[in-house]
Subunit: 137 residues, 4 copies
């Protein structure tokens, strides 16, 4: 099943280097840290889309996070997060993220449902044009 | 939709206190930290089931994590994680976790697919009896 | 040497509960996490002193952190952080923090040099009166 | 004062890339995260010295950590941690670490007192030869 994800299918790429602290008592990278890797990559998209880094004005919030874990990770590892906008709705959109190791093994696959949200009025707003431009890119 | 989760439906409860560092640059509790809250609660179940806290012998690994975010969280907050085993397969099982704040609002709902895994032979094994005993508890 | 710290010498107390994720691959609470415990306690003082939780206006920044580690920590543990302002200068002051476990063993002792800092003008400012009021309390 | 630290004085170098999650609610890299950067660099030395990554046998534990903070850090930043063993005692030794940004500004300077410790007998042991070999390197 994980075979279907290939790094060449992604043009939005972000490199991540593990840290020793990413390991937990089981001596593998902790499950929640994968979410942090994916977030680091996602925030690069936010910048690309002109989203401010504070809780004011037009921003993006998370509605849901799904991570399927395929391989355990050791430290040190150099990873690549490939991202793709795979669905766009009225106020929300979906980001698929796949983490690959140096040998291009699939470490995990994630799906984030994000909502365009105006912190000033505390309400969802129409998906920003900059995101539409990256749809299926 | 989130209305359906009530704290009284859960008997496996774990109290969590937020830390200032749980906030991110948006000044809300970071999305990955919810996974850490849920993990803290899950590890209490592991102890209850006699799972050792190291990567040797019979343990439990995560196959997938799903979190639906309902409410933004501020610090300080005192939270309760309610957990329930809602499905048991041959080698895997599903834990539903719901985080409630002090007013019993639903902060998020999570579903973890976990696999009984023997680190020594690096293979999934039959779901442990201790977990079966907690099914739908 | 650590014998000299007694919980009864502190009136500014903050309770901390460990999380499983606080452990690192050595299966003890990670050294940097102690800094997070101490910070959680320190932020309670910030609130007491009316310091806003954002990088605008009059705030407090850290000039230095010293932690002496006395005992290794396991999860789960319930801890108490005792704090005292032990020195006040013109624009800076020193907070002593001692972490005790439930049996009142001294886990670590920390000294933070903090600087009253105005983010708007990006300069240190005179120590706030609210801090002076807590000197040696 | 911070002027005296030059990257050319260090031969043990480790590159660190910030993550968005390293920021806290003040939108700067959190103080405890500096300790994690320094630890990531330190663990490279541990490997160099043949220290196992688990709490068994001959290892190294921390007696104290001192960090002097010179500059606030934003994300994204690429950092270099320079390390030097500046003192060796009977069972303990001192590691100086300085974090530089890309323009070679000094972000912080840290001093760690580490103790050679045998987890099996739970006692400090004589400083390992491999560490002596790196003294003032």
């Amino acid at each position: 099943m994980k075979k279907k994800y290939k790094i060449s299918d992604y043009t939005l790429l972000c490199e991540i280097t593990t840290r020793w602290r990413d390991l937990d008592a089981f001596q593998h990278v902790n499950n929640a840290v994968y979410a942090t890797y994916i977030e680091t990559a996602r925030v690069e998209l936010f910048k690309r889309w002109g989203i401010p880094g504070s809780n004011t004005g037009k921003s993006i919030i998370m509605a849901s996070l799904q991570i399927d874990y395929y391989l355990q990770l050791k430290h040190p590892s150099v990873l690549t997060v490939g991202q793709k906008i795979i669905k766009i709705g009225n106020t929300s959109f979906e980001i698929e993220s796949v983490i690959f190791d140096k040998e291009q093994n699939v470490i995990c696959r994630s799906l984030v449902v994000a909502v365009c949200f105006d912190f000033d009025i505390q309400k969802p707003v129409k998906v920003y044009d900059s995101i539409n431009n990256d749809f299926n890119r």
